[in-house]
């Protein structure tokens, strides 16, 4: 094969073969092993231990951050949900301005004994939709508190 095709063409084919292999490995590994956050259901199913640092991701539950007296100086409370499991978050530290109900959020911290989640970092997610504001209306893909 080396004589017929030439050494450089064999090298090219080998390089392409390696590329495909690397790609396949990366694709399968990315799906199963690289976990940025767990959904509340996944955290419950995996039995995440108290005190173990983990990230949770989900939607901020509607109505869970709307009460003014929940925002005191020491902690900020809201609920993260994935539609089936709710987790009460108690956050210390900076809260991003984009955090709002019915919108995505990722929190990093640990569960405590009473089942709530002590979050040291709160990150707001936004979706991929961009719309111009219309007077008096809230965008269909978001609700504001």
């Amino acid at each position: 094969m080396l004589d017929r095709l030439g050494a450089r063409r064999v090298l090219l084919i080998a390089a392409l073969g390696v590329a495909v292999l690397v790609g396949a490995l990366a694709a399968t590994n990315l799906q199963s092993q690289v976990v940025y956050y767990l959904t509340p259901s996944e955290a419950k199913a995996q039995g995440v231990a108290v005190g173990q640092t983990v990230r949770l991701g989900g939607l901020v539950k509607k109505g869970s951050m709307s009460s003014a007296d929940l925002r005191n100086a020491n902690e900020f409370r809201f609920v993260i949900t994935d539609g089936s499991v709710d987790v009460q978050i108690v956050a210390t530290g900076a809260i991003p301005g984009l955090l709002r109900e019915d919108a995505g959020a990722v929190v990093q911290g640990a569960f405590v004994a009473d089942g709530t989640f002590q979050a040291t970092q709160v990150i707001a997610k936004h979706d991929e939709v961009y719309t111009a504001p219309t007077a008096g209306a809230t965008p269909a893909h978001r609700t504001a508190p």
Partner: protein, 233 residues
Amino acid sequence: MTETTIPRGNTLPRIRPWLGIAAAASFVVASVMALFWAPTDAVQGNVYRILYVHVPLAWLAYLAFVVVFLASVGWLWTKNPLFDAVAVSSAEIGVLFTGLFLVAGSIWAKPTWGVWWTWEPRLVTTAIMFVMYVGYLLLRGLSTDFSRRATRAAVFGIIAVIDVPIVHLSVLWANSLHQLPTVLRAGGAPALDSSMLLTLMVSLFAYTLIYAYFMSARVSLERARQRRLWTQI
């Protein structure tokens, strides 16, 4: 060693200044549209406008690395030094654009997500892509023999391109903070208002001209270097 005919035409050097003027002019138009003409976003307000820098730079970085792949294949197949010139030029511009859109993304992330950086799938794979192509450029410094250098770089350039689709699909494959694709996606039309989409397309056009202008200048420079340093290619 085969003789390589170096093209004697002078078309490209003649149009390059006009390409540069067109790139600069369209960049100004795109920037004005992005800053003033496009509407604010109902969720993010004005801070989303960095999209018109971040997204075109990202797409052009992808394109630049695909060009590196094609030029690498071209060198291995034909041993024409023009392909090596195109490969190194596109890799340099791709690294520049990747660095720029990573910074733009970070500036966008702080007021929206709340953090400058986090190790989530899209950001991790993009950082890997950046480091790999910096590695491509460093790899070229390992050899003074033209043919060996070009062949090493070509093999690396063929393997490294695999990360480009991985970066794009990373948000679809794993739980991620970065949002799903707005334009380059399977189901449905681009998820942004028509005036925003127009501004994005004008920006893409402008940055493409900038890429083309940089490529034209850099490839010409590399060809001059080839002629000066390697008399036998």
